[in-house]
Symmetry: C2
Subunit: 108 residues, 2 copies
DNA sequence: CTCAGCCGCAACCGGTTGGTTGCATGTCGG
DNA sequence: CCGACATGCAACCAACCGGTTGCGGCTGAG
């Protein structure tokens, strides 16, 4: 597996960088696949707004939706989420390295 | 340590959700503290644009800047980064749980 | 002292975004 | 068959965002 590039990771973070969308991901993670109507219930905004958010998340590869009867069920696709997590890991590791080098330079 | 809330995590992801900013964080992670002029060198955009991005990242708590002489040095503040990482961990864990429950329900 | 670097502030601009309303379409239940 | 329910599509809007230009203010080196 290659190291994730900023160009690939940024859209994922951008998709997660909205409170409503982050909430949607959380609800879908805990509650399993749910319809748009159900996801709309409990929020203060319109169904169409929710639909837009879902499409944004799908565009970033974080969600996948499939139609069942008259409703559409959305579910989390964890692969991109893992990718984003790995990116933060890389950043942290680099930072740790830089800190270690700095420490060593100070000691010498 | 409390579990991170969407309301707190979203701004961090939003700050990371831009390719230029993600690149800045990466460069500061690997290269240590750097001045604005140095961070601008190598990019295609203006110093003022870089400044804005740095301020956005600082607003999300990801960066800290201090003045030294006539230049300002920016460095990574890893605490928020870790927090964001933890949030993705929680999401992933919840997803794993949901998957396990689903699997169990199917088997029964 | 003077001048070149490095920076901050403010105004401005086009494009994106989050959200709405209105309407049309498809589907399940009785 | 018919009505209620779940969704899709399109237009519209205010606000935000990424980026630029122009200018003025410190700071350090010679």
């Amino acid at each position: 597996m290659r190291s994730p590039s900023p160009r690939a990771a940024a859209p994922v973070f951008a998709a997660l960088g909205d409170e409503t969308r982050l909430l949607l991901v959380a609800r879908l993670s805990t509650g399993g696949p749910q319809s748009i109507a159900r996801l709309t219930a409990g929020t203060e905004i319109t169904r169409q707004a929710i639909t837009k958010h879902l499409n944004v998340l799908a565009g970033a590869g974080l969600l996948r939706g499939r139609r069942r009867g008259r409703e559409q069920l959305w579910a989390v696709d964890p692969s991109r989420l893992t990718e984003a997590r790995r990116y933060l890991d890389v950043i942290s590791a680099q930072w740790d390295d830089a800190l270690a080098r700095l420490q060593k330079a100070v000691e010498e």
